[in-house]
């Protein structure tokens, strides 16, 4: 039925050329330099004459990659699981009751209005508060990420929850399910598409965040991958091959996830902002 449309080849070629040079160019440079030896840097853009994988093992040891990876992985995965659980639950309770209760209505506007407060605005007093509560470590920062996601995620979930028919919950209640059971067995599975968006946004935020780790995690054993790249900037100095091997090891996990789930990620990120 669908009419076969003529391909615009000029546009296809133009967009491909721009993508290769502008988007892939810097990545090509990163990979090539990470694999070269310092003596092979005369023709910077040329392919390496021999592959120097020892750059990776040196950067691995220098930055204590395993420690920083585990820290980042811990923060990212715990944040992801608990953000989805707690934030969806809070949003559900707020949306279902905000029309009959002033308290829940107040909570709704409390969280929504907090979206207008950027992190940079509260970072000075937050650091004082966090060190008073001993939250200036990976456990503390994880808690802060989960809690700071509430305004945005309440907003993201709210439209979605409103669209779910209340009849489903009433039926469950007649069958004797309590509120938690109803949420867990009926609502939570239905929220899956929005939870996917929330999961992607949380993952991207925590894996790539630099500012919050910079101000909260001073101890070397607590640092994340992003923060370590900044801390080791001086030690890398002009050892570009080492530095780029290190950068590449930070980018690779994200790139691997992206290669396998890119369609899902793009759909999730755009639907999150457009729905909102």
């Amino acid at each position: 039925m669908k009419e076969k449309e003529k391909t615009n080849w000029l546009l296809t070629i133009l967009l491909s050329v721009i993508a290769v040079f502008v988007i892939l160019g810097p990545l090509y440079i990163t990979v090539v330099i990470a694999l070269k030896s310092p003596s092979d840097m005369e023709h910077i853009l040329a392919l390496p004459t021999s592959l120097h994988f020892e750059n990776f093992s040196m950067a691995w040891k220098l930055t204590d990659y395993p420690r920083k990876f585990l820290n980042t992985f811990f923060i990212t995965s715990i944040n992801l699981v608990f953000t989805i659980l707690t934030n969806s639950m809070a949003a559900y309770a707020i949306i279902r009751n905000k029309d009959k209760s002033r308290f829940f209505n107040l909570m709704y506007y409390y969280f929504i209005s907090a979206m207008f407060i950027p992190f940079n605005v509260i970072m000075l007093p937050l650091v004082k508060q966090a060190s008073a509560f001993h939250l200036d470590n990976i456990y503390g920062i994880t808690l802060i990420y989960i809690i700071f996601g509430l305004p945005m995620n309440t907003f993201l979930y709210s439209g979605y929850i409103k669209s779910l028919p209340v009849a489903l919950e009433e039926a469950a209640k007649i069958d004797g399910a309590d509120t938690f059971q109803t949420f867990w067995s009926i609502i939570f599975p239905l929220l899956k598409p929005m939870s996917a968006t929330v999961a992607i946004l949380s993952f991207m935020w925590t894996w790539n965040d630099f500012l919050m780790p910079l101000v909260l995690l001073s101890d070397a054993s607590q640092q994340t991958l992003q923060l370590a790249q900044y801390v080791f900037k001086g030690q890398f100095s002009t050892q570009y091959n080492l530095a780029f091997a290190s950068y590449l090891m930070v980018l690779l996990p994200v790139l691997a996830v992206y290669v396998f789930c890119q369609k899902w990620i793009i759909a999730g990120v755009t639907s999150g902002s457009v729905k909102a």
Binding site: F116, L124, L143
Partner: protein
């Protein structure tokens, strides 16, 4: 009887909200309020302090570093917003065209969104510092044979990297907007003689206006907060030429003994960002009301 049951709210609902709301209050609202409180003091971040009223805020008008940071941040945010939105919209129109390999191209153009801004900044540092000057010297172009990040045009380098990364997200938003436009509208438009740019301005753009506003709100907010890419590329220099408001808060607030003074700066930054966002959202609501 029935009505009574409907109005009853199960305690479980309170359990779902109250603990996280309490933590949010403690970790987010209390620091926010404390920041406002400190902005009326002369606290250095340690030691004793006293109330000084509006002195911090009055001091702003005489402080060259504040003037510099606000001037640069606005210039940067405005340029980045315009460039990113013009380029993203053009790119989205291209990606919405009759092209082959659409999914692969979409995936490539979205890729920069996935990468950490700090590392992108480091990679482009090298490109600006080593690759472009090398090329400039070989080609005999004096303008390109120096590291732009060390010159008075450093901000253009930072702007380039910001645009490079931010286009990814904005393009996908515009593309999802363009995909909502019904193709039949174009057929009707071409009957009326509207083609090319005219068709875009008169028909396409009004239809994707809500997506334009989403992009504007999010772009302006994120560019006014610029931090990571500048820490990676110039550290705020040369001198203080590329120091943004956020960097000033970070540098002077934590290490410069200006905790209270920079708290006042943060309060002003909040007022600026919040009022711009509210203003933009008001326009969005008005426009959506018109469409419906």
């Amino acid at each position: 009887m029935n009505k009574h049951r409907n109005n009853h709210i199960s305690p479980a609902f309170y359990l779902m909200v109250v603990p996280v709301a309490a933590l949010f209050f403690l970790l987010h609202t209390v620091p926010f309020l404390k920041g406002i409180f400190y902005s009326f003091t002369n606290w250095k971040g340690y030691g004793s302090w006293e109330f000084i009223g509006f002195k911090n805020f009055l001091q702003f008008f005489k402080d060259p570093s504040i003037k510099q940071a606000y001037g640069f941040t606005f210039q940067f945010a405005l340029s980045a917003t315009v460039l990113v939105n013009v380029l993203s919209l053009s790119l989205a129109c291209g990606l919405n065209g009759k092209i082959r390999g659409k999914n692969l191209l979409k995936a490539l153009y979205f890729l920069p969104y996935m990468l950490g801004t700090l590392i992108i900044g480091f990679v482009f540092n090298f490109i600006f510092g080593n690759i472009i000057p090398g090329f400039g010297k070989t080609a005999g172009i004096p303008g390109l044979s120096v590291n732009i990040l060390g010159t008075s045009k450093a901000w253009l380098g930072v702007l380039f990297v910001t645009v490079w990364q931010s286009m990814a997200f904005n393009t996908m938003i515009y593309l999802s907007g363009l995909q909502t436009v019904d193709k039949d509208i174009y057929d009707a438009a071409s009957v009326d003689g509207a083609v090319g740019l005219q068709r875009f301005i008169k028909i396409t753009f009004p239809l994707i206006a809500p997506f334009f506003t989403i992009n504007m709100v999010l772009s302006v907010k994120s560019f006014l907060m610029a931090f990571d890419q500048i820490m990676a590329m110039t550290g705020g220099g040369p001198g203080t030429a590329t120091t943004t408001i956020s960097m000033l808060i970070y540098k002077r607030g934590f290490d410069g003994g200006q905790f209270a003074y920079q708290s006042a700066n943060a309060v002003i930054l909040f007022l600026v960002v919040a009022s711009i966002s509210v203003f933009q959202l008001k326009i969005l609501e008005k426009r959506e009301a018109k469409v419906n």
